[in-house]
């Protein structure tokens, strides 16, 4: 059994990220750009792991080649500067958009956020923490992974 993680992000303007940026600025966080990705982690049979990426590329409910980019991640951990938001409840799905995938036993979805300052750098960790605590995560049912 293998675990494979993919990030799917829009290549067209991301209205949700734009709205998040405006709200973060209103909170007082100096952010120039907000980048958002859907993080999908699949628990898959070894025999099906190699072909998983090409299968995902055919599931148009989560990936449309005309407006998304698909990136395979090295592991199910956030990259530097990222925060992942996930439900506190274990919510593993067995299908995506009503479609089951051969050899996939469990699917987990999270949202990754990256906040970038005017110089193109990740905002300081203290500011990312503030964004999480005040807006990006509702601790009543979500948790942040850094």
């Amino acid at each position: 059994m293998a675990e494979k993680t993919f990030a799917i992000a829009l290549t067209i303007p991301d209205n949700e990220a734009f709205t998040a940026r405006e709200t973060l600025r209103r909170i007082g966080i100096a952010v120039e750009d907000v980048r958002r990705s859907d993080i999908w982690t699949f628990t898959v049979d070894d025999a099906n792991a190699a072909g998983l990426r090409s299968t995902i590329e055919t599931i148009e409910t989560i990936f449309n080649p005309n407006k998304h980019q698909l990136e395979e991640r090295a592991g199910a951990r956030p990259q530097r500067g990222e925060v992942w938001i996930e439900p506190r409840e274990e919510t593993r799905m067995s299908s995506v958009g009503g479609r089951t995938i051969a050899g996939v036993h469990a699917i987990r979805r999270r949202t990754a956020w990256r906040l970038v300052d005017a110089d193109g750098n990740d905002v300081p960790v203290t500011e990312l923490d503030r964004a999480v605590e005040t807006f990006l995560c509702n601790p009543a049912f979500q948790k942040a992974i850094r």
């Binding site: 209205n15 949700e16 709205t19 998040a20 709200t23 209103r26 909170i27 439900p87 409840e89 005040t134 807006f135 990006l136 509702n138 601790p139 009543a140 049912f141 979500q142």
Partner: protein, 265 residues
């Protein structure tokens, strides 16, 4: 006469029926478009945040609107003791704004209305029962103890979730304002899987209520036509235009509001 604002965010969609219900119970009510800014809200005596999908539910249902300038004015009003009602998405906004249950401060939510346990959007006729002493809930304090009110449930995210210790505090502190029940008031499992069978939350003072089902969608008989068969579309026009059960929620709100002294403007 007390004046009630119905704030509209981008994506709000239940403002007209909410306004009609408020006017029907004799209140002076007005839609306030977000572009008018927070200052426009400060002249009102009470607020009813209607349902919909404010800011398209971006980030989380209610999260963006909770930080909107309009909501600054609603928070300020709630803290001053004015009455605030949130229905469906309006309820989600009040929870995200930390006004209900309000146990951890403004914009520090300790609860959430989260995706239904079925994972599906639900649209169904329901009954809710007043779960606390009316005196604990001044915003609709004119209701009878244990009042049962019909409403339409219409949401994808109405399941109360909070940490176990917070749920215990909400239950023991009388924050669970309404619970799901049948037409006779007997408890039934929450159709959305809501913790504590919760249909509505209030704050410590009882001047703010966040209710997930829609009382305004059961305010006239024709709105019940599919639920109990007593007012079919072919029934007498005067009959189907008569108020139905959900209007009781607004009548109680109006009585409570009118009983308060109207501040000088």
């Amino acid at each position: 006469m007390a004046r009630v604002a119905v704030p509209i965010f981008p994506g709000t969609n239940s403002e007209d029926e909410t306004l009609r219900a408020l006017v029907a119970v004799g209140l002076e009510a007005e839609l306030v478009h977000w572009s008018r800014g927070a200052r426009a809200l400060r002249a009102f005596d009470a607020f009813v945040l209607p349902g919909g999908f404010a800011y398209e539910d971006r980030v989380r249902a209610g999260a963006v609107a909770a930080h909107d300038e309009l909501t600054d004015a609603v928070i300020e009003a709630a803290q001053a003791g004015k009455f605030v009602v949130g229905i469906c998405n309006g309820a989600q906004i009040l929870v995200e704004a930390g006004l209900v249950p309000g146990t951890s401060g403004v914009r520090r939510p300790t609860a959430a209305f989260t995706p239904n346990s079925s994972g599906r959007f639900l649209c169904m006729h329901v009954y809710v029962r007043l779960n606390i002493d009316p005196a604990r809930l001044p915003v609709v304090g004119a209701l009878s103890p244990g009042a049962v009110i019909p409403m339409w449930l219409s949401h994808g995210e109405g399941r109360l979730q909070a940490a176990p210790d917070e749920l215990a505090r909400l239950e023991s502190g009388g924050y669970i304002a309404f619970t799901y029940c049948d037409a006779n008031g007997a408890g039934v499992p929450a159709p959305n899987g809501s913790a504590l069978n919760c249909a509505a939350l209030t704050n410590a003072e009882g001047n703010v209520i966040a209710i997930m089902p829609h009382p305004e969608r059961d305010a006239w008989r024709f709105m019940q036509s599919e639920s109990d068969g007593t007012a079919s579309p072919s029934a007498d026009a005067q009959e189907i235009l008569r108020p139905s059960g959900g209007i009781a929620f607004f009548e109680a709100f109006a009585r409570a509001l009118n009983a308060r002294p109207v501040p000088a403007r």
